[in-house]
């Protein structure tokens, strides 16, 4: 595909385009789910910036709050409450704007590919009707629409001839691509992709990732890519945020995270991934214990119980986010006392 109607509108190609202009800024966000036994703190003081044109990976174990963060940004949180914090998107504060205005943003401005979203396709409607409906509800149906649809289908390797088919006639991988096409047709600025490939097989997943990578570049999308698979992160993202128990423990450049991870949790996580392409078979390492209960969390380091470096201080105080400096100049933050000038000496013996 040489010329693209979709991308012509926003084409700013340069290598250092990242990290200049923030598209989405989250500040000190706290989100809780009130339950019988207290409050589940799914997002605990998260601050995060998404820059225009970047792919930011959000990685963490099951239940650490990744989807909750996605839902919060789209204001689609079911049963959860934003306790405090700010989310600004293009200088609009999403926390305070009324639902009516939010509806206008959802779709054409920010959009989400949900976890297992293949199931969201209406089984009674042909694929073509899904596209028409999506465009019409957002008043985007015009003369060019038809061409747009065909171009996208072509891009995502769905044969034109299958537009008249029903969703159940497609395989899981194709359904997922249809969902992605439906998201892209509205030309959103920011896409939150919540585990878009987890339900798929390795081969289908690998192909889809390749297509996604090309599309992100071509359409100059900004993506928050949620996954638990660090292998995918290595493949597709520019920066990564490591989430644990509702907090972001480390955030930085993908290359740096994989080669020079600062937080003990990130390191342990990277060591636990088996690599098939290793020359030698080696024993895998793992992290003993399990993630903490998110109900009424104590004010200590959330990883202290499982951390092999932990000292008394980790069990008595909550670490603050600390800036680290790496050569490439990309902002790198970590929440760990080891890197805190005031407490670093406590860890010297290790």
């Amino acid at each position: 595909m040489t010329s693209s109607i979709l991308s012509s509108a926003r084409k700013t190609q340069s290598n250092d385009r990242y990290y200049n202009k923030a598209l989405l800024e989250i500040k000190n966000l706290i989100v809780e789910y009130p339950v019988k036994e207290g409050n589940v703190r799914a997002i605990d003081d998260v601050s995060l910036t998404l820059y225009r044109g970047e792919v930011l990976g959000l990685v963490g174990e099951s239940g650490c709050g990744k989807s909750s963060l996605g839902f919060t940004i789209l204001k689609l949180l079911k049963g959860g409450v934003i306790r405090s914090g700010e989310i600004s998107f293009n200088d609009i504060n999403l926390v305070t704007i009324p639902e009516g205005e939010m509806q206008l943003l959802r779709g054409p401005e920010l959009s989400m590919i949900f976890q297992a979203s293949q199931n969201a396709l209406n089984p009674l409607q042909k694929v073509l009707n899904h596209f028409i409906d999506t465009l019409k509800t957002h008043y985007r149906w015009n003369d060019e629409s038809w061409q747009k649809i065909l171009e996208l289908l072509n891009r995502l390797e769905i044969p034109e001839s299958r537009l008249e088919d029903y969703p159940f006639q497609f395989s899981g991988g194709m359904q997922q691509r249809i969902v992605i096409a439906l998201t892209l047709i509205l030309n959103p600025k920011l896409i939150i992709a919540d585990e878009p490939t987890t339900a798929l097989d390795v081969l289908v997943q690998a192909r889809l990732l390749e297509i996604l990578k090309e599309i992100i570049k071509e359409y100059d999308l900004t993506v928050l890519y949620i996954t638990h698979d660090l292998g995918i992160v290595a493949e597709i993202t520019n920066r990564v945020a490591i989430m644990y128990a509702g907090q972001i423990l480390e955030i930085g450049d993908t290359q740096t995270i994989f080669q020079n991870a600062a937080h003990p949790y990130t390191r342990a996580l990277i060591e636990a991934i088996p690599n098939v392409k290793d020359e030698e078979k080696k024993l895998l390492s793992f992290i003993p214990g399990h993630p903490p209960d998110l109900r009424n969390p104590p004010l200590i380091c959330c990883f202290a119980d499982r951390c092999s470096y932990s000292q008394d201080i980790c069990h008595s105080k909550k670490p603050q986010s600390i800036n680290l400096n790496f050569e490439n100049g990309v902002q790198h933050k970590v929440k760990c006392f080891i890197y805190d000038d005031r407490y670093g000496h406590l860890f010297d013996q290790k």
């Binding site: 390795v202 024993l283 003993p288």
Partner: protein, 407 residues
């Protein structure tokens, strides 16, 4: 440690279970026309003529994409599904499936399921769940277990009587008009219930009396320690990883010779996964169990298994030792699978990914089942002739007309 009766003459490389030409077709529920005309019946070719051997004391991995027939194979081996055709050799004796079934019942093989969340009864404490599998299999004739069960029963009785007694006290207290007597009776009732509850549920002495020592040992072995604490927990009180450990304990306590593990770690997080595999491996070594390890994750298979069989749409595409398959994959499909796994190295790229998707198992493609997706050699008879599984290197089998070493 659990008492075992190990057979001392076990050598690696001696076959435990041979599966020969196994087939499983599921009939497709067709539309009305097909029901009226029974001649046109369609079948899902879930397993279409596969053979492999599981040796004693080895970890045999079965890998492949979703729907290629892995779970169906496991289900047949534990007696949950009848095969359409196929024969079996158990320790070198040719037996039919009907004869294999009692062996299965005789707990020669046990299964650990894909989903740790649904496999344990939510109403049973972890320890009881494990003990229960002994009871189901009529393995509780020994005196120790009976005594433990009696103790458990006794504590239930204590609780029951104390509950009755406090209800009785309550009734009395309502019948008493004098407020002071009323209060005393209520307090006594409450204290009594509380005390007996604490005694039964929390007293270490009582717990030690009830808990089965074999289960406790096993819990320590699978990494649930302190075992006494985990023994009395309910499934909802522990994490997914711990549940899966209890599941493993439940299978191991029956002392099986073959353990079938159907994706035991795919529902778990990476940080827990390696721990479970570690426990499984050490159990396999100490008890000399053979494991049929089913997974779609080649990376896990590589680090965990001894031999591997790669399945594609109901057929074996390639089979051999882990080392030779990963160093020298001969089937284009195996190579693609290995290439496709995202590696934890930024900038690493996969090559030669096949296009298209897994074909429908109702109408599998003629010839080589992989030919529509194969990015390598495409010769006319890839499309017409089915490749045989042949031994190209010692103990390395491949079903491909043009294996990669010939290109």
């Amino acid at each position: 440690m659990i008492k075992l009766e190990p057979e001392l003459n076990i050598q690696s490389g001696t076959p435990l279970l041979e599966i020969i030409n196994l087939k499983k077709y599921f009939p497709v529920e067709g539309g009305i026309i097909q029901r009226i005309l029974p001649t046109q019946k369609d079948y899902v070719h879930a397993i279409d003529d596969i053979s492999f051997t599981i040796n004693r004391g080895e970890i045999f991995c079965l890998v492949g994409e979703s729907g290629c027939g892995k779970t169906t194979t496991a289900n047949i081996l534990v007696g949950l599904e009848e095969p359409t055709a196929g024969s079996f050799k158990w320790k070198d004796n040719l037996i039919s499936y009907q004869d294999l079934k009692p062996k299965i019942k005789d707990i020669k093989s046990q299964i650990v399921f894909q989903n740790p969340y649904s496999a344990l009864s939510p109403r049973m404490r972890l320890g009881d769940s494990v003990l229960h599998s002994l009871i189901i299999h009529n393995r509780v004739q020994d005196k120790i277990t009976l005594k433990r069960l009696k103790n458990a029963f006794k504590s239930e009785i204590i609780l029951f009587i104390s509950a009755l007694f406090s209800i009785f006290l309550f009734i009395i207290s309502f019948m008493l008009d004098a407020s002071s007597g009323f209060l005393i009776a209520i307090t006594a009732a409450l204290l009594f219930t509380l005390a007996s509850g604490i005694y039964v549920n929390y007293s270490l002495i009582q717990k030690k009396k009830i808990a089965d020592p074999r289960v406790l040992d096993l819990f320590t072995e699978v990494g649930l320690s302190p075992a006494l604490q985990y023994y009395f927990k309910y499934p909802h009180e522990v994490s997914g990883g711990e549940r899966q450990r209890a599941n493993i304990a439940r299978a191991i306590i029956l002392n099986p010779e073959l353990l079938i593990a159907d994706e035991p770690t795919s529902m778990l997080d990476v940080s827990l996964r390696a721990g479970i595999l570690d426990s499984l491996k050490s159990l396999q070594e100490t008890h000399n169990i053979s494991i049929l390890f089913i997974t779609h994750d080649l990376a896990t298979a590589r680090h965990f298994g001894d031999r591997i069989s790669v399945m594609y749409v109901g057929k074996v595409a390639e089979m051999g030792s882990i080392d030779s398959i990963f160093k020298n994959p001969l089937h284009p499909y195996t190579k693609a699978l290995i290439e496709a796994i995202p590696t934890p190295i930024p900038g690493d790229k996969a090559y030669n990914l096949p296009k298209g998707e897994v074909p429908d198992a109702v109408h599998p493609p003629p010839g080589c089942r992989y030919h529509p997706r194969c990015t390598y050699a495409k010769f006319p008879y890839c499309e017409t002739e089915e490749p045989e599984l042949r031994e190209l290197f010692p103990n390395h089998y491949v079903a491909c007309h043009f294996p990669l070493n010939s290109i």
